[in-house]
Chain length 148, copies 4
Amino acid sequence: MTALEGPQAVAFAQSVLDSQPFSVLVGARVEHMAPDGVVVRVPFRAELTQHHGFAHGGVQAALADIALTFMGAAALGPSVLTSEFKINFLRPGVGDALVARGSVISATRRQAVTRCDIFAVQGGQGKLVATALGTIVVADVAPAGGGA
Amino acid sequence: MTALEGPQAVAFAQSVLDSQPFSVLVGARVEHMAPDGVVVRVPFRAELTQHHGFAHGGVQAALADIALTFMGAAALGPSVLTSEFKINFLRPGVGDALVARGSVISATRRQAVTRCDIFAVQGGQGKLVATALGTIVVADVAPAGGGA
Amino acid sequence: MTALEGPQAVAFAQSVLDSQPFSVLVGARVEHMAPDGVVVRVPFRAELTQHHGFAHGGVQAALADIALTFMGAAALGPSVLTSEFKINFLRPGVGDALVARGSVISATRRQAVTRCDIFAVQGGQGKLVATALGTIVVADVAPAGGGA
Amino acid sequence: MTALEGPQAVAFAQSVLDSQPFSVLVGARVEHMAPDGVVVRVPFRAELTQHHGFAHGGVQAALADIALTFMGAAALGPSVLTSEFKINFLRPGVGDALVARGSVISATRRQAVTRCDIFAVQGGQGKLVATALGTIVVADVAPAGGGA
């Protein structure tokens, strides 16, 4: 994956998401996948809300897990697992979609520290609703645990 | 909710979960709800997995969000929102269910710091798969954001 | 402090640091203080190291606490306290100084989520050694707790 | 260190702290060091305060870094480094000493997830002032970065 960029990288990343039943359940779509950034989108639908009609915090956390992990995979290669992350909820999320924009803060051969911002997008306008910071590590064996 | 304990508290908490479409989608069930601890269970099913058949990190994060927030609600009252949390993934999760056991580290009138451990339970045996630490605050207005 | 920018803001912020004996012990100096960012510098000296001659993780954490809190104060006003933060250590820190560059991710009337990167600077070149993300809240009473 | 317990382990851990100039500057003392828990004490003194006379958040963060890392070393062996941690500040810290009680949540061969609670102790009574959760990893080379 380190060698992939552009449409191929997006297609490959989407195929990984498509092989994760929970990512399919959430409805996550990869829009951009490169060592300098990833974009993952979750179209808004009623099934993703809490009792006030906003995106459930758990959806935002799941999207953060996916975006942080895919950012790590873009930096380190496809065989990674997520060690940990932190998420701050900033305001209620409602709109057409939740869009996570991931970037890499630091990457060595075996570990990447990645961050992502999550936006609630409505009519082309995005409002920041959450931010996250995490640690992704190369899996010594078949990956297991985090989002990828 | 602060005045409730026992079966009434569990029933009330479950009714909140049932009013959150995403919690229903995940399949979360409240088993215990008291100021000294909460237990939230997610029966394992294929839809919750990643591509190796383990529970997706996003499911664990969503369950942590729910358990941390409900623990905050048990300590502070029902009108709360989750400010932030951190989760560490410890090992792959597989079994009959994921069970989150939440407890409160510190609570003042307006804020609770809560933690939870997530276990993968199989045949009555639980294995710790993740741990989380978060901050829950009283909502000044109608709650929005985190899990409750 | 919200109304202050430029040299006045730096002088005021430094006066706060100078009134904190621990910040004096660490040797923290404010170099920039504005709603769009803060810069806090700690000149490197032997007393700040661990047993391999690198900056101790505790110094980096203390500097993160100061920079995150001052960034919150620049956004919210001087009476704030730090609710929580997370720090990731990226590589050993050695050089002429540790420099923290803080920025604000989101600020409402009562809370700011702030981040900072810590660089080890040597001969004008900076190397990223740590990154942090935190929550700063307005103090209802005289501030107490976090770095400012 | 994994084989050490009791007075020998405490003496060895204290010798590591004594070789860290910053830990000496803070005044950290190891009181207990075993795979099931560590206790690190920092006697309170004016140099460790912020401008209201409470323990500076940076001191609490530095103590958390030390306690989390030493807990990791007690579980994994002496050659470790701290990957990251999160700290929540709960209330102002003042008294005779700050005492951090560390424990291990999960340890594998190469990584430990550790937590610690920090108490402000006065006249034999302790009040919880902060809690922290972190990730400690085995250093492949000479350790550098975190507190040990």
